[in-house]
Structure formats: structure tokens, C-alpha cells
Amino acid sequence: MEAFRQEIIVGAVVVYMLFCIITGLWAMRRTHNSSDFFIAGRGLGPIVVALALFSSTLSGFGFVGGPGLVYSIGVSSFWMVVISSTGYAVGFFLVSKRIRMIAELRDCISLPDIVAARYGSEAVRFLIAITIVLGVMGYLATQILAMAVVMQAILSGTEMFADVGLVTCVAISSAVLIFYCVTGGIIASVYTDVVQGMIMMVAGTLILFTAMSVFDGGMQEATSIILADDAEAIMPYGVAGIMASLGWFFVFGLGLAGQPHLITKMMMNKNIADNRSILPMSLFGYVMAALLWISIGIVMRAAVIDGVVDPLALPDDAASVFLTAFANPLLAGVVFAGLFAAIMSTSDAFLNIGTAAIIHDIPKAIRGHSIKNELFWARVVTVLLAIVAASFALYSHFRDATLVAILGAFGWGTFAASIFPVVAVGLNWKGATVPGAVTAIVAALLINFVSQLAGYTFPYAISGQLVAFASSMVLFIGVSLVTKPPQLDYDIERVMDI
């Protein structure tokens, strides 16, 4: 079997991609209007929503960057994972019920729709839509690039495709993504998410057992090796220190409830009461999949220190070197399919919310109504958005990485800082005002943008994202408290009383 390792891996990835294409064709028959395209007509069952929610949370970063981060900075990066229970719980307490109720009451198809209904303000809708578009461009470009790099690494290991170029890999991977997103919209996206989520759970669990068998003394031997080399790396705050770790606790823990691609999925379930089972199922799935992040990272750091494997050229090589050195070819095939699943499940979610922001929300905020024939334009813009992001990714790779790095700053942390107060707190506090929301969003964008552009580093590894989030929370509540309480629409007020 070892002789066919590369063929098995390629086969697993091809089967997975064929599945995505077939799902797209199947979902096309169920997509009749823009509500179907963007929020699946609010008709999804609890298992589908739960799996879609967790698989969209764990992007390619979790499968590639996560183990690389543990290899590089030790336990510090655990903080992004162990807060998942907190993050999901806070998200469900604050957002899931009211966002779903407002979506049904006002026929909302996007997060900016919800915000506009809550605040009665097109300015807030516009700012949230712009934040989403900026974030989507950065996220999508990095995801497409990651997908292409992994595909190139897999194909170049075979004789037939040894010389395959990155541009070809970007074209192939983007084509599959575009196909199922354009034909089936969010319906294709969530049903591929279901399988993607299952693959990720299986991959995470199997990898844990493989990782535990690398050292005779199991995980304890691995952590002892790291402790002897540098104790801080395996102590609770890791190499990056207490404030970097707590920054991730803050931004990832509370910030989950501010991620537009995740909370939009909370609008899609058929019954509000399903939330009670969606929360534990999502959390379980995430934890299973995230086992890969922790176990590969720890074992690879220990293996390099102990001389079992050569030092890595790049920390992000941790997962692929682990799979080559320690995993059975079949397991490697499942994990590589899982990696594509992780990247695609996040990418399709971003394509969907980015398209909604462009064809639905920005025109509505500027002209007072969205464009005609939304479903047709949704498909056109999905293609264009993916092509622009793919071109952007290639330009960044071959010419200048700065632009993607800057837009990359509009990632999780910026969404958390600008959206969490306005949506998560705003949906539960009638005193939240438009000036409070506008101030919080603008401050979050400015602090993230300026600290990224200026390359400013705060003392004790405090992140710019943490400063932005803490500031936007204070400004949102503070400005709302000192400005005139709003007159809420009667239906929104009643929803907020429930």
C-alpha cells in the first residue's frame, strides 16, 4: 500500500471533489429564489446546521496553520481551540434565537439585513456590508491560495502531474468551488459542509491515535521532551506569553458570535427550538476535528527536538510532514480530503455572504432597494468574486504579498471587534443606538487597519485585534449610554422581549 501512497491521496481528493460537483447539481434543483440561494429558505434540520456551523468555523488554517502554530509557539495556540465551548455557548445565548426570529419576521437573507432591521439604519447596514466584503476578499484569497498550494504538493508527487503549476491548481480548485456554489448556492454549501464536517471529525480522531503512538510513552513523553527543551512552550500560556494567549481567548471566545459566515447559518434552521441540539452537536464536531491541530503540533515539535524527524523548513509543513512520516496512506488520504473540506467549507460560506453583501446589502443601503433578479446576479457575482479572489491570491503569491496581508487583517479579529458588539450585544439590549454601533464599527476597522499598516506591536505581545475588540466594546456601550435611546419598531421590540 505504501507504494501507492500518492495515488491513494490523489484518489481521495478526486472522490471528494466529485462529490462536491454532484451536490452542486442536486442543490441547483432546490434553489428557486434568492432566499434559497442565501439562507436555504430557512428550512434546514438540526444536524445539517450543526455540521455546517462547525465545519465553517474550522478553516484550512485549523488543519495547516494550527499544527504549525503549536510547532512554532507551543501551547499559546491551544487558546484558540479550548475556547470553542465558550465561543459556541456565548454565540447561542446571544445570537441564535433572535437572529432567527428577525430573519423570519422581516424576510432577512443576510446579516446586514438583520442589523438594518434592528437599528432601523441603512448606515449601519452599509458599514457591516463593507466590513464583510473587505474580510471576505482577504479570507477567500488566502483560502484559495492554501487550496492550490496543497493541491500542487499532492499532484507534484505523482509522475503524471509532477510539473503541475500553481496557476493550474488555482484554476482547478476554484472551478470546483465556483461550480457548486453557483449552481446550488447555500444549499449546496451546507450539504457539502455536512460531509466535509464528517470527514474532518474522522480525520481528527484518527490523527489523535496516530500521534499518541509516535512515542512509546505516548503524549506524556512528547510533552516531557518539550518541557526539557523550553518549559514555557508547554506551560499554559506558551511561548507567546500570557497576554497573547488571553488575547486569543478574548478574540476567539467572544468573537465567534461576531463571525458573519457563522452567525448567518443561525438564520437557516427550520425550527428555533432546534437550537437546543445544534449547540452541543456543533461543539462536539469542532472538538473532534480540532484534535488534529493539537496532536500533530505537539508531536512534531517533540519529534524535531528529539531528532526523530529533521527540522521543518516552515512551521506550516508540520501537518504534511507528519502525514508522510507517521500516517498510513489511507489515513493520509482521508486527512488530505479533510483539509480540502476544511478550506472549501469556509470558502463557500465566505463566497455566499460576500455575494449577499454586494448584490443585496450595499445597493439596498445606497438606493433603498436591492437589485432586480437577485438570483441571477447572485450567481454572476459569485463567479466574479471567486475569480477576483483567485487573481488576488496569485498576484499576492507571485508579486506582492502586502495587499493580502493587509486584507488578511480583516479576518476573525476584525469581524469580532466590529460585529460582536453591534450584533451580539445589540440584539439583546434595547438601549443600543445607531451612533454607538457606527462608532464601534469604525473604531474597530481603524484600529485593526492602522496597527496592521503601521506594523505596530503592543507591549507584552498584546495583539491589535484584542485592543480593537476591547475598545469597540467600551465605545459601543459607552456611546449608546450617552446618546438618545432609540425608538424601536414595534415588532423588533417584541422580539427583543421574547
Binding site: 479550548v82 514555557e232 506551560m235 437546543r276
Partner: protein, 180 residues
């Protein structure tokens, strides 16, 4: 207390911002955010853990406690005011104490290791790290349980569902009237 929840959340947010400012102004130490590993490129080391916590350790731990408290208070904010009953406050208060206890075990376990250089192990990890890895994750599980098992009592009661259905039918009638 019940209607003043947002003021408490605001006060904690301001305190946390204040702590961030205080830490920014604290005496700097070398390698507070790590340094390059001398032997392996791409790998970093933390170095002297005691020195890194010397000026900001307690401030950092206070920040952590405030964050844990804020998480519980924000979860409470997500529950309609009339459902914030005494038993709910007991559950939420218990969860807060549980998470603070885990936080303390983690922090004190770490400082104890820095003092003595000795540590036990639990399920593959040094004790303090086990508190972080398993404890932090488990610390929020009571919130998940309160949400799932208490859904029909605190989050979305049958009466809430009835009210929402009534609101939906009122809106539908309104739409029909405006279309006519």
C-alpha cells in the same frame, strides 16, 4: 441587579481596557512574546517564565478573571429579563465560580512550577497545562448544559413560542392589508 446588567458589563469592559493600558505601560521585559529557538528555525522559545510574569502576572490573571466573568454576564444578557430567575442566577453563579477555580488552578500551577521546577502530569500534559487544556474547555460546558437542558425554561419557553407565532400572524395580516 437584573436591569442593571448592561452597566456591570460596561464596567467590566472598562476595567479590562484599563488593565490592557496598565500592562502596556508596565516595565518591559525581554522576549515577553517569545524568541527564536537557537537550534531549530521556525520554532520559538519562551525562556524565563518568571521574568515574563514579574511585572504583569497578577494584572494578566485579573484580566483573565474579568474575561471569565464577562462571558457569564454576556450569556445572562442573552436571556430575556423575565426568565432571569433565582435558580438561573445560582446556575450561572456556580458556572462562574467553576471557571474562576479552573483559571486559578492553571495560574497557580504555572507559578508553582516556576518556583519549584517540578510538575506532575495529567492525561499527557503538565498539570497546569492540563487545567488549561481540559479545564478551560470543560469550564464552559455548564453553559452548554444550561442552554440545552434549560432551553424551554429560560431561552424559548412555550409561551415565548406562542408570542412569536402571534407576532408572525399579525405581520402577515398587516402585509395582506397593505397589499390590498
Amino acid at each position: 441587579m437584573r436591569s442593571k446588567l448592561i452597566y456591570i458589563i460596561f464596567a467590566i469592559a472598562v476595567l479590562m481596557a484599563g488593565i490592557l493600558l496598565a500592562i502596556s505601560l508596565a516595565e518591559p521585559v525581554a522576549n515577553a512574546g517569545g524568541a527564536a529557538h537557537p537550534d531549530f528555525p521556525g520554532m520559538q522559545i519562551g525562556g524565563d517564565g518568571a521574568a515574563r510574569l514579574e511585572h504583569i502576572g497578577l494584572l494578566g490573571f485579573t484580566f483573565q478573571c474579568l474575561l471569565l466573568s464577562q462571558i457569564i454576564l454576556l450569556s445572562l444578557l442573552g436571556i430575556a429579563e423575565r426568565h432571569r430567575t433565582t435558580d438561573l442566577f445560582v446556575y450561572m453563579g456556580g458556572t462562574m465560580l467553576f471557571t474562576l477555580f479552573i483559571g486559578w488552578q492553571m495560574y497557580s500551577g504555572h507559578t508553582q512550577y516556576l518556583d519549584t521546577g517540578r510538575t506532575g502530569y495529567f492525561m499527557g500534559f503538565p498539570t497546569a497545562t492540563a487545567w488549561q487544556l481540559y479545564g478551560t474547555w470543560l469550564g464552559a460546558i455548564p453553559l452548554v448544559i444550561i442552554y440545552s437542558l434549560g432551553f424551554r425554561k429560560y431561552i424559548y419557553t412555550p409561551q415565548d413560542e406562542e408570542k412569536f407565532q402571534q407576532l408572525l400572524s399579525e405581520k402577515a395580516q398587516e402585509r395582506t392589508r397593505s397589499e390590498q
